[in-house]
């Protein structure tokens, strides 16, 4: 099974919502299990530790699928890869932020942030712009 086939199969499995469950032989550190049980019973973190575990696992797997789909897409279509600035601008628009109307600020911030933190993400860029604006206000 190559990467594309694996991704297709993961998407197919994640789309199944029939509710069928299985007892697994997955081994959890005992202390982690007990900490999760307290998070559920004392702080209402989730309806149950099973739900908490399944939700966290789904979040992790779905994120991996999304990131992998994008990475494979960029490999096939390099021109489709958005810049850090473009991603930050998209998030500003999704957030309904007035920064969505200031692509010039976001572009400059993306350059500045990336120069200092090569692994920065789009939220780092938006935070940088907001901080800069707050300083000069």
């Amino acid at each position: 099974m190559d990467a594309l086939e694996a991704l297709d199969e993961m998407n197919r499995l994640l789309d199944i919502t029939d509710g069928e469950t299985v007892n697994t032989s997955m081994r959890l550190p005992l202390a982690l299990r007990d900490a999760a049980a307290l998070a559920v019973s004392q702080f209402g973190a989730a309806p149950s530790t099973t739900t908490m575990t399944a939700d966290a696992l789904r979040q992790a797997v779905e994120t991996l699928v999304m990131e992998t789909a994008l990475r494979l897409h960029y490999e096939q279509h390099p021109a489709a890869k958005p810049t850090l600035s473009e991603i930050a601008l998209a998030l500003a628009a999704q957030d309904g932020s007035p920064l969505a109307d200031r692509p010039d600020l976001i572009a400059r911030a993306a350059d500045a942030v990336a120069a200092r933190r090569p692994d920065a993400d789009a939220d780092d860029v938006l935070l940088w712009v907001e901080a800069q604006l707050a300083v000069v206000a």
Binding site: D15, H73, H77, A80, Q94
Partner: protein, 136 residues
């Protein structure tokens, strides 16, 4: 939780890497992935009537690429059809846009974003539900 709803134009742009809006729509998905890395729950949703309008057949070999992006179907079931019919009657929009409105009204997400090329029509079908409408 944030749900990002795609309209026909957004789907068309996502499907075709040569579409001039392709990179912009991909940027929205990349932003969603970045937020998920930070622990936020963000999903992409396509109303099935939009898939019909955009000719997105998940079973077709030509759809293999777009199928890899995790975009969840919001089906036009009986309840959604009733709501969409009410929206269509009130706004005289097309079936796909009416289904977008029904989708937005039914989502339990705390934040709903619609990617569209027609903000005015989408605002009409979504009201009175709260949604951030992003022009792509």
């Amino acid at each position: 939780m944030r749900s990002i709803v795609l309209d026909n134009e957004a789907v068309q742009a996502l499907t075709n890497p040569r579409n001039p809006k392709h990179r912009a729509v991909v940027a929205h998905l990349a932003g969603a992935a970045a937020r998920r890395r930070r622990g936020r729950v963000v999903e992409a949703v396509v109303p099935t009537a939009v898939r019909v309008e955009a000719a997105w057949d998940r079973a077709a070999p030509s759809a293999a690429a777009i199928n890899r992006f995790p975009v969840r179907d919001h089906t036009l079931d009986s309840a959604a059809a009733d709501v969409a019919a009410q929206i269509q009657r009130a706004t005289s929009t097309g079936v796909a846009d009416a289904h977008i409105g029904a989708t937005v009204r039914s989502l339990s997400s705390t934040e709903v974003v619609v990617l569209t090329s027609d903000p005015a029509d989408i605002a009409a079908v979504c009201a009175p539900a709260q949604a951030t409408i992003v022009n792509v």
